[in-house]
C-alpha cells in the first residue's frame, strides 16, 4: 500500500524543486538554446536561398553572355557579308570602269588614227596635185617651146573642141 501512498513532504519538495528547475532552465538554458537553434536554422536557410539566387543570377548572366555572343556573331556575319558585297561592287565597278576607259581610249585612238590618215591622205593628194601641175607645166613648156608647135597644139585643141 505504501507504493500508492504519496508522501506529503515529497510532493511539496518536488513542486518546489521542479518549479525552480523549470524557471532556471527556461530562463538560462532553453531560451538561449532555442534562440541559437533558430538563428542557425535561419542562417542556413538564408545561405541556401542566397546560393540559389546566386546560381540563378549566374545562369542569367550565362544566358546573357550567350545572347551577346550570338548577337556579336550575327553582326560579324552581316559585316562580313556587307564587306564581301561591297568588294564585289567595287570590283565590278572598277572592271566596268576600266573596260569603258579602254573602250574610250581605243575609240579616241581610232579617231586620231582616222584624222591622221585623212590628214596624211590630204597632204599626199596636195603633194601629188602640185607635182602633177609642175610636171604638166614642165611638159607644156617642153611642148610649146616654138611657135609652130604652139600653133599645132592650139589647132589640135580646137579640133578636139569642135569635134565635141
Amino acid at each position: 500500500m505504501s507504493l500508492i501512498n504519496p508522501g506529503f513532504g515529497l510532493i511539496i519538495w518536488m513542486t518546489l524543486a521542479f518549479g525552480i528547475l523549470l524557471f532556471v532552465l527556461a530562463k538560462f538554458a532553453w531560451k538561449p538554446i532555442m534562440a541559437a537553434l533558430k538563428e542557425r536554422e535561419d542562417s542556413i536557410e538564408n545561405a541556401l536561398l542566397a546560393a540559389e539566387k546566386a546560381q540563378q543570377a549566374m545562369e542569367e548572366l550565362k544566358l546573357g553572355n550567350e545572347k551577346l555572343m550570338q548577337e556579336a556573331q550575327i553582326e560579324r556575319d552581316t559585316i562580313l557579308k556587307e564587306a564581301r558585297k561591297l568588294k564585289d561592287v567595287i570590283l565590278n565597278e572598277a572592271r566596268e570602269k576600266s573596260i569603258m576607259e579602254t573602250k574610250n581610249m581605243i575609240q579616241s585612238a581610232r579617231e586620231q588614227i582616222t584624222t591622221d590618215k585623212n590628214a596624211a591622205l590630204a597632204e599626199i593628194k596636195n603633194t601629188i596635185a602640185s607635182y602633177s601641175i609642175s610636171i604638166a607645166e614642165k611638159i607644156l613648156r617642153e611642148e610649146l617651146k616654138d611657135k609652130s608647135r604652139q600653133m599645132a597644139y592650139a589647132e589640135k585643141l580646137l579640133k578636139e573642141t569642135s569635134l565635141n
Binding site: 504519496p6 506529503f8 521542479f18 523549470l22 532552465l25 532553453w30 531560451k31 538554446i33
Partner: protein
C-alpha cells in the same frame, strides 16, 4: 554518513541475537523497501553494519515542529520523540506515532527531506549543470556546428521541439510550451536513467513514485487548464458532432468530458509511476530469486544467479528503452493536451449536419 546497527523497531532486544541468526529473506519487503521513499539513504550493508546517509526529518504535529536527523531512529528501538517508522498497513515505511488508543497515526505535516527529495535535488543540479553548460556553448560557438555534449543533446532537443511540440500544438503556439515540454522530458529521462543505476547517487525510484509523477501531471493539468481557450470549454460542455439525446435531459457527454479533464493527468501520473515501478520490481525479483534459492542451498543460489543475472541484464536494457519511451510518452501526451486546449474552432460543416 553514519554507521549503525540496524534494529527493527517492533522487535524486542531479547530476540535480537536469535533474529540475526535466522533472519529469513523476505523478497516482497526487500523490493518494496527498494522502490519506495525512505527517511535515510541506505547505501550498503557490510555484515550487520548498515551504511547510510542520515537525512533531516521535519514534522509539524499538534502545533509543534520536530526537527531531527533520521539517524536518531536507530536508537531506542527506533522510537524518537514518540515517532517511529510504521511497519505495516497503509502508512508502512512512513513516520507515525501512537495515539491514545494505540493506533498508528501520521503527524499532521511531514516535510521530511527524504531520499527521493535528495535524489530530485541531485538530478536537478545535474540537469541545470548540463543544460546551462550546453546553453553556454551555444553562446560561445554562435552559428557554428555543435560540439561535444551539445551535439549529443541537440538532436533530442530538436526532436522534442519539432516532433513533439510543433506537431502536437501547431506552428503558431508551440514556442510557448517548448520550455516546459523540454524540462519534463529531460527530468523524466534523467531520473528514469538514474533509477536504473543501483548505486548512490542513482537508485532512487523517483519517476516510480506516485507523488513525483503526480506533481508532474499536476503541472501539465494546470498549464492545460490555464491555457485552455473558449473552444475547449465549449467542446466539453457541448461536444459537437454528438447526438442531442446524449446531452439532454441527462448530460451524459458533458459528464464524460468533464471526467476526461481529470482522468487525462491521472492517467499520466499512473502510467509513468506503474511503468517505472514495474521495471524495478521485475529486476529486483530476479535478484531476489538468487537469495531465495541461496537460502535453500548455496549451490542452488550460485546456479540460479547465472540465470537471474542474465535476465536482469535483459531487463536493464529493456528499462533503458522504457526510460526513453516513458519520457517521450509523457511529454507527447502533455503536448497533445496543450494542443487540444489551444486548438481553434473548426469552421467546417462537420459540426452541423449530424
Amino acid at each position: 554518513m553514519a554507521q549503525h546497527d540496524h534494529k527493527n523497531p517492533v522487535d524486542k532486544l531479547e530476540n535480537w541475537q536469535e533474529e540475526i541468526e535466522q533472519e529469513d529473506f523476505k523478497a516482497g519487503e526487500m523490493i518494496i523497501e527498494h522502490i519506495t521513499d525512505s527517511y535515510e539513504w541506505h547505501i550498503i550493508t557490510v555484515g550487520h553494519t548498515h551504511v547510510s546517509i542520515p537525512l533531516p526529518v521535519m514534522l509539524y504535529d499538534e502545533g509543534e515542529f520536530h526537527f531531527f536527523m533520521s539517524s536518531e531512529l536507530h536508537h531506542n528501538n527506533g522510537i524518537y520523540q514518540g515517532y517511529f517508522i510504521s511497519d505495516e498497513g497503509f502508512n508502512s515505511g512512513k513516520l507515525v506515532r501512537k495515539d491514545d488508543a494505540g493506533a498508528e497515526i501520521r503527524p499532521d505535516l511531514d516535510f521530511s527531506f527524504t531520499k527521493n527529495v535528495l535524489a530530485i535535488f541531485f538530478s536537478i543540479f545535474l540537469l541545470g549543470f548540463i543544460f546551462i553548460s550546453v546553453a553556454n556553448s551555444y553562446k560561445k560557438r554562435k552559428g557554428k556546428a555543435p560540439k561535444g555534449l551539445q551535439s549529443l543533446l541537440e538532436p533530442i532537443i530538436i526532436f522534442v521541439r519539432d516532433d513533439i511540440a510543433r506537431s502536437s500544438i501547431g506552428e503558431k503556439r508551440y514556442e510557448r510550451y517548448t520550455p516546459f515540454l523540454l524540462t519534463i522530458f529531460f527530468f523524466i529521462l534523467i531520473n528514469n536513467l538514474l533509477g536504473i543505476i543501483p548505486f548512490f547517487p542513482g537508485g532512487a525510484n523517483i519517476t516510480g513514485n506516485i507523488g513525483v509523477t503526480g506533481v508532474l501531471a499536476a503541472f501539465t493539468f494546470i498549464i492545460t487548464t490555464y491555457s485552455a481557450n473558449k473552444n475547449y470549454w465549449v467542446h466539453i460542455v457541448n461536444a459537437p458532432g454528438v447526438p442531442w439525446w446524449l446531452k439532454i435531459p441527462v448530460p451524459l457527454m458533458p459528464i464524460v468530458e468533464i471526467m476526461g479533464v481529470f482522468t487525462k493527468p491521472f492517467v499520466l501520473m499512473v502510467r509513468l509511476f506503474a511503468n517505472m515501478s514495474a521495471g524495478h520490481i521485475i529486476i529486483l525479483g530476479f535478484i531476489s530469486l538468487i537469495f531465495i534459492f541461496g537460502e535453500i542451498s548455496q549451490g542452488l543460489g550460485f546456479g540460479v544467479s547465472i540465470v537471474s543475472v542474465g535476465f536482469s541484464i535483459f531487463m536493464d536494457v529493456l528499462e533503458i528503452l522504457v526510460a526513453f519511451i516513458q519520457a517521450y510518452v509523457f511529454t507527447l501526451l502533455s503536448a497533445l493536451y496543450f494542443g487540444m486546449a489551444t486548438e481553434e474552432a473548426h469552421h467546417s460543416s462537420e459540426t452541423i449536419n449530424h
